[in-house]
Subunit: 425 residues, 2 copies
């Protein structure tokens, strides 16, 4: 597929993130206005709420866009998702009539004038561990390469349930957490600010359709349920996790914040970029096998910018094709017990690491547990995130003369509170 | 404290669960009506929604009761909770005027005519492991008594985040889940119905006030945030858990269902029943210490009734005073990382086991991993739950001539689907 040209000229820029091929879904507001649904096109936002209210766009027998999330639209299902995309292609494409252009151009809002908000209302959030390279790196650090992968790793997508209330939009400042820490040579734990705060480079799959209480869904059904993807930074307190995680898994180590990018890039926009999960030496049980390629070729970069630094250093270049398990496999596994999925649920992929040092998706891996600090462009090194560092994720699928951009997933780490229990501080 | 007598005569029955001292909060509906807030009193439900609409009861400048959850009321905060309780005490008590009685008696709905629904809308659900007896039993089975407790156990309340979409109301039938199972002597896992399905006897603490993103709350503040408690059955697939839980904790093993009782017994009603957590050999860090007693003396029974059996067998008699950590301690710990709590969040206590065999809060413990099946009154034995068994929890704090009853938390286990992926079956 090549670039679909639009009469919205900025959508045709060769390196633009939001060409007509993309059409990602976000929630925006302008001065004095309320949060509502919009679609990114070039440097504009198509105010689909205004179009719906003006009678120029209708996807259902009642309005669904004048809301602070895409949940109501997602609930309408894949046929509506496809019809909506087709309608936007027709109306924003070069072939649109002059009258249609004129009518719809009134619904374009410059992105520069808008604030972006969480695009989805999420109740269920699970974070997977689906990248074998990452699991191997972490396992090697703690148990050596022979015992790196847990025995279940090649048989099911390991995951834990996470905290939906901690999901925040790109740009939200993150406060370094306090927690119980205990080094191996310490006799007892202490309550102190986290000393090994990290990012994890992930994609979040947004579930757009529910499943039934007591009924698993197949991988093929799960594929149809996924509305789209966002960049996800699963901020991680490594030292808190070390002390707390046995026997029930990470809890406070993963509860400080989960930052997501504002635009949901739809599964439909990503269709040209399908790739397969790797060949498997250990075959999966039938219920977890994929009927076709369900990963995507998406370049993912991580940048770190210290406070006051002139520019950011790209510290990781990875790609979503590195995953061992795809989001539909994760979703199918999540329902095996009969656990009902809900519209708006998010499934984190797990840290996306390649096989080279430069493609590792966390500082834990990049600095090999802090033993091999990485260098920054402007000088200085990092083992873990330091106060006032900003971490930025970028993602793009690269087509023939166009990009499917994910926008940014950014967060600055503020210093820990001196006294976390002081009020009004 | 002794019985507060009411002009609602059924509330004065000596063994009644819902005297004027109790006033638990639920969501009910009657034929053709919508789900709304009500308060149990004797064998009646006080329709506070009708009172609010009739101008006879006002707790806020806009209506809060005509909703399918108590969240809006809980959000008003502890002062309103106290004022509401005082008003109900005055209006339902023996001292109420004849005119008041007449006005309010029109808002009484027989419980026999009402259906009960989930009382709270929960987004965040965490399940703790806060009973040392339970942790010791489980740890002894798997690692021997010397290594039974994990090293962190005496220092922090261990927990995992659970799945809010799986929370169901008492009476909901539960479907035996499928999952990946692998016995130690099997070479590879298989996908099959769970063979070791269990209950866990817990209380769920309902969080009625939010906390700030990035700010922990103290144990004292956490105490004030807890609106009340429900009975909670944390249905558990032991064999699924064994295979899946390393390294990120239980996931599908705990996602099939979490059944709760319909009435939230408020912290205010439980105040006369305060007891302390145990004396500690290993002192807690200061941020987790309790300023006063924060457990409650609540008797808890578990009954098992096979399909077609004449009556149920009481298989467990336990008490909430057996906990090592209280709900306010759990809640305070949950916020240490800056994780924001939300109105409606639920914190499971963890399985509540006493020190005797008869007081163990799960079949895993009662049958010691299946090695010592327990006998049932009508004949037969159980190691784990069998198809069509019904599990019922009951709870009551026992005052001087009155009870604070929790109602029932019941669920019947249906056989697994023959083919979980068949549709329309």
């Amino acid at each position: 597929m090549s670039l679909l040209t639009s009469w919205v000229e900025s959508a045709n820029a060769p390196d633009g993130q939001f060409p007509l091929n993309n059409l990602p879904c976000g929630i925006f507001s302008t001065a004095g206005g309320r949060r509502r649904c919009g679609v990114a096109i070039g440097d504009q936002i198509l105010d689909v709420t205004a179009l719906e209210q003006g009678g120029l766009l209708s996807v259902h027998d009642h309005p669904v866009f004048d809301r602070p999330s895409w949940n109501a639209f997602m609930a309408l299902g894949p046929e509506t998702w496809r019809a909506f995309r087709a309608r936007l292609h027709a109306m924003l494409g070069k072939e649109a009539s002059q009258a249609d252009r004129q009518a719809w151009s009134g619904a374009l809002v410059p992105q520069a004038d808008a604030a972006l908000h969480l695009p989805v209302e999420t109740r269920g959030y699970a974070d997977f561990y689906g990248c074998r390279n990452h699991a191997f790196n972490v396992g090697t650090m703690f148990r050596g390469p022979e015992n790196a992968l847990p025995p279940n790793y090649l048989h099911l997508p390991i995951a834990y349930s996470g905290r939906a209330s901690s999901i925040v939009i790109s740009g939200t400042e993150i406060r370094r957490p306090w927690g119980q820490l205990k080094a191996p040579d310490e006799a007892a734990p202490r309550f102190a600010p986290c000393e090994r705060f990290d990012f994890e480079l992930e994609l979040g799959a947004i579930v757009g359709q529910p499943s039934e209480f007591g009924r698993p869904v197949s991988v093929a059904q799960a594929y149809e349920m996924i509305f789209g993807y966002v960049l996800l930074n699963d901020w991680s307190a490594r030292d808190i996790q070390t002390w707390e995680y046995q026997p029930l898994g990470p809890f406070q180590a993963k509860a400080t914040a989960n930052t997501i990018s504002p635009w949901i890039v739809t599964s439909l926009a990503l269709e040209p970029f399908h790739v397969s999960t790797p060949e498997r030496d250990t075959p999966l049980l039938p219920h977890l096998r994929e009927p076709g390629p369900m990963l995507y070729d998406i370049d993912l970069d991580v940048l770190l910018q210290p406070d006051g630094a002139q520019h950011a250093t790209t510290i990781t270049r990875s790609n979503y094709r590195e995953m061992y398990y795809s989001a539909p496999q994760n979703l199918a596994h999540h329902t095996t017990s009969g656990c009902p999925m809900e519209v708006g649920d998010m499934l984190g992929s797990g840290t996306i690491s390649g096989t080279t040092r430069q493609s590792r998706g966390s500082l834990l891996e990049l600095s090999w547990g802090g033993k091999e600090p990485i260098g920054l462009d402007g000088g200085g090194t990092r083992s873990f995130i330091e106060d006032n560092d900003t971490i930025v994720f970028r993602g793009a699928a690269r087509g023939d003369g166009y990009l499917i951009g994910f926008g940014e997933c950014a967060g600055k780490l503020l210093p820990a509170h001196a006294d976390p229990y002081a009020r009004g501080a």
